[in-house]
Amino acid sequence: MRRLVELQTLLGPVVVVIAAALLGSVVSASNASYFTNALVNVAIVTALYLFIGNSGVLSFGHISFVALGAWTAGVLSVPVSEKPAIMPNLAHVLRDRTTGNLGSLALAALVGGVCALLVGLPLMRLSGLAAGIATFGILEITHNLLRYEEGIGPGLNTFSSVPETTGLRQAAIGALIGIAVAYAYARSRLGRLLRATREDPAAARAVGASVYRQRLIAFTISGAVAGLAGGLLVHLLPVNTESVYLDLTFITLAMLVVGGATSLWGAVVGALSVSALDSYLAVAENGTSLFGWHIDLPAGTRVIVVGVLMALVLILRPAGLTGGREFRLWPRSS
């Protein structure tokens, strides 16, 4: 019975993700891509939640792992015949090899996890503002290196010719994997220890929890999920260094904050609702009609609306739309 009660927190996220995927499969092909994109966002925000939500430490750096995942999957998926055209200076090791779809995604997750581990080793000693600035530094360094290191990717070019295998199904499975990992982690002993360090570092130390080690573990796992999400992203649309940089950092953090950073349910709700709003505004920027009103918003409106929404939620409801609580069918009796 207790198991069932605990499993219900998984129910909400899983059901809305599947519902989004099903809804996406009945709309027109051009609109379906918005749903696919939203599901990839769910995977990214789940990764953010896994670290930020459980540890209470801010990270501006997770999009670096998304970027590294995208680069890994992208470089390994471009057909050998196309590589010289978009990546003329690619290192020899990478030039003659390609992997299948699944292989590229698995490697993207692996690279994301390993890089997060390496970055986390020194960085997880930091907290608060220092952690925010340092992880921002990681984002800058990753962006800078990917932009100019042409031995490992297209540099300033865009990843074209990557097989577009991320449809609704693959995106939904990716999002569900992210949710499952985040759920399992949050329910595990490790997750509980990390949340203990979030609530009271001194008390957590007193019962033997190492703040540093718990944060490092969460950072690594969430880096792997972010890497996987990056792999999904590069298989969805042509990615370049700018599409995995400040804008994506902003919008995914907004999703996490709007939904509620301290719960998986908040991450999923935030990702889907902000994606829905963002997609609707994107459509409206091209002209659409609602209840007979013709709406034609100027380009750029979407970021303004999302920015205002994020600021409002931060001010009026700092714990997010879900109040940072997990999904429950019935209120806790005790």
């Binding site: 503002l129 340092a134 921002f136 800078n144």
Partner: protein, 301 residues
């Protein structure tokens, strides 16, 4: 000798000093608000951007230079006051991380408003372009703006030091940045101190806007964004908690990037951001309080 080896001429040195002076002013602007609010204003660059657009509009309308500068100050000061009233004040007392995310949102908001208003191609501010012409000093050609930037930077810092050291409101501000709660108990008015800090920081942003538009007349929505990111790194590098270390940090990072950018060939200078942020992370790990502070640990949140 070493200068010649590194391929640095006096012009590069002068330009680097000017960039350092401009970044020092931005660092003070960020540091002032941080002192009283414990808030890292990520949206500081957008204040500079707004001022730059005001200058561009003024030059497009054919206004005289002084009117353009007045418009620039007015726009930036109004925007700073609004930012304080609408965002900073409701968020007062939240964790630094929440406030950082909030200013991040404000930064994006302002940038997209600028995008909507002025378009991605931006506008050109030409009214002060004459300052870009070089003058010869002792056989070395130096652009006038370089001299202006250094002089203005020194004057602003001197005026600010006087204000902080010699006036009541300055005393209140210094007290608040040491311990806000105690300062309030001793009769320091929170809203006034914060308001003055925000306005001073806005005025500095306007000064920076004027000087940056001379260096780079093309004003786009992401104007000063990169500079802000680098200055933030410099402020952390120097030491966030005190104004003088923060200013030194801003100056050194501006000087260093200016020097490296001028001296290194492009295939090396393109990696400057990596070096800068690598250095920042290193400093955060080794001396969390900053390079130019004396042995105080940064607040562990």
């Amino acid at each position: 000798m070493t200068l010649a080896l590194l391929n640095i001429d006096y012009q590069t040195l002068a330009d680097a000093t000017a960039l350092g002076a401009i970044y020092a002013l931005m660092a003070v602007g960020i540091g002032l608000v941080f002192g009283v609010l414990r808030l890292v204003n990520f949206a500081y660059g957008q204040l500079v951007m707004a001022g730059a657009f005001a200058l561009a509009l003024a030059s497009q309308w054919g206004w005289p230079v002084w009117a353009g500068i007045v418009l620039c100050f007015a726009a930036v000061l109004v925007l700073s006051a609004l930012m304080d009233r609408l965002v900073f004040r409701p968020l007062r007392g939240h964790s630094p991380a929440v406030m950082l995310v909030a200013t991040f949102a404000v930064a994006f908001l302002l940038q997209s408003i600028a995008l909507l208003w002025f378009g991605a191609l931006g506008k050109i501010a030409t009214s002060l372009a004459s300052l870009n012409r070089p003058v010869a000093i002792g056989g070395v050609e130096i652009r006038k703006i370089t001299i202006v930037a250094v002089v203005v930077g020194v004057l602003c810092l001197a005026a600010l030091t006087l204000l902080l050291e010699r006036t009541t409101i300055g005393l209140h501000m210094r007290a608040s940045s040491l311990d806000f709660q105690t300062a309030r108990m001793l009769g320091v008015r929170a809203n006034r101190v914060i308001g003055v800090a925000v306005l001073l920081s806005g005025a500095l942003a306007a000064v920076v806007a004027v000087m940056l538009t001379v260096q780079n007349p093309l004003v786009t929505p992401d104007f000063a964004l990169r500079d802000t990111i680098i200055v933030l790194a410099g402020v952390v590098l120097g030491g966030m908690n005190r104004l003088i270390p923060a200013t030194l940090g801003g100056f050194s990072i501006g000087f260093a990037t200016g020097l490296l950018g001028g001296a290194l060939p492009t295939n090396q200078s393109q990696y400057i951001p990596s070096f800068v942020f690598g250095a920042v992370i290193l400093v955060l790990l080794v001396r969390p309080g900053g390079l130019f502070t004396r042995g105080q640990a940064v607040e562990r949140v």
